[in-house]
């Protein structure tokens, strides 16, 4: 214990890793599932899904503790990690090296996307009741603009990639996958998960379109 106090890098890094999956990754999965409900129309989305969520007790506390803080920490420490990299994706064109590089690039991409996205949804909703009450309509309005749709698509794919690839890295970091074979196999599993999540996400995005 004392050693971590003097030299916390290991713990911070593991915390960063853990929070990436739990709760941030878990939230993303849940969030994509939530948004995939858009296919069933505004009534269902606003009335059942969003209303259920908005009706939860202690919602702000949950949002802050389970989403905002972990995400902020993960993003903040992620920026430090990004800063340690001196990637040479052109010199070393190995798949893992590319994934390593993309993991960091996508982190930055997500950060920018989130500022925009959360600002336009949750934050804007704080003072614009219309947004809060008809999130479906709001999203439909946003996503009907092709460039905005593009931004969302990009943000979605970056996030999904980042989670899936992050998961496969976690396998090594935590020592779940050790042999090259295990790492490759788990990589395929994560890729599968990523594709699935991407499908759910795109499905949800399209569901908002008129």
């Amino acid at each position: 214990m004392r050693q971590f106090a003097a030299d916390p890098r290991f713990l911070l890094r593991r915390l960063h890793s853990l929070l990436g999956l739990l709760p941030v990754g878990a939230f993303l999965i849940f969030h994509l599932w939530e948004n995939s409900q858009s296919r069933f129309g505004a009534e269902h989305y606003n009335g059942e899904v969003v209303a259920f969520l908005q009706g939860m007790n202690y919602l702000p506390a949950l949002e802050i503790v389970l989403i905002a803080l972990p995400l902020l920490f993960h993003a903040g420490y992620g920026l430090i990690v990004v800063n340690q990299m001196r990637a040479e994706p052109i010199r070393y064109r190995y798949l893992r090296n590319w994934l390593y590089w993309l993991q960091r690039i996508s982190g930055i991409g997500i950060l920018i996307f989130l500022l925009l996205h959360v600002g336009m949804t949750r934050i804007e909703g704080l003072w614009r009741v219309s947004v809060r009450e008809d999130l479906f309509g709001h999203m439909q309005h946003l996503l009907s603009q092709p460039w905005m749709f593009g931004i969302y698509l990009a943000g979605l794919l970056l996030s999904v990639f980042h989670l899936a690839n992050g998961l496969s890295a976690m396998g090594i970091v935590w020592g779940l996958t050790t042999s090259a074979r295990a790492q490759r196999r788990f990589g395929f599993v994560c890729a599968g998960l990523g594709l699935l999540l991407a499908a759910i996400g795109v499905h949800g995005l399209i569901g908002f379109l008129p």
């Binding site: 214990m1 050693q3 971590f4 030299d7 890098r9 290991f10 713990l11 890094r13 593991r14 990690v81 340690q84 990299m85 001196r86 990637a87 040479e88 010199r91 070393y92 190995y94 893992r96 090296n97 390593y100 590089w101 993991q103 960091r104 890295a169 396998g171 090594i172 970091v173 935590w174 020592g175 779940l176 996958t177 050790t178 042999s179 090259a180 295990a182 790492q183």
Partner: protein
Amino acid sequence: MKGLPAKTTSIRFRIRRQDAPGSPSYWQEFAIPYAPDHNVISALMVVRNNPVTADGQRVAPVVWDRNCMEEVCGSCAMLINGVPRPSCSALIDSLRQPIVLEPLPKFPVVRDLLVDRSRIDEGLRKVRAWIEIDGAWDTHEGAPRISPGEWSANYFYSRCMSCGCCMSACPQFGPHSDFIGPAPLAQVRLMNAHPTGRYDQAERLHAIMGDGGISDCGNAQNCVRVCPKAIPLTTAIGELGRQTTVQAIKDLFGG
């Protein structure tokens, strides 16, 4: 690769030179008569016998490091056509010309292609890459048993010759960071697997759980791709991930 055009009559080099640490680097080109059985070292030896550049200028002989010329001592690593590798086993016939030689990156240049790799040694010291023994005398105890399977896993790691290729290819390692790099990490894996080396496992793990330790690896896995000895560095990193996970739980919650 014997498929080179038959008209190859010379071997051409582009060499990045640097007179001293901190001084600017510059390029020079050399050409020597072609022969099929050259490797980069034997060709550099020919250049050394008559250090004249391709445009006829007499220059100081190129400085570089080598010793065994059999790829076991680890001295001769450099950047050859952009990739870190030992130069003694780099056969000319398998290289695109002009062959571009640069010092092994990430390590401070001493002169020309000679770099200072003392950071590898520092890393090994930091992670306590040795077995604690009472002294270098006979204790009249037979050897601890090691199964052949375990032996072959360990043997892989014991062949690391500290050439530094893996570290120079690692995007997390370099003057900008205090990451000890993959080679010393793999030695922790090796020492922790020895029947008596295990006794000091916690100390070694604590060493790599500190600054510059295992958490600075970002799993880029270039290291394992460039290692000339095919040392399963990323397997070691995974296994150390597991060991540190367990160790951290012990440290945090007692045990």
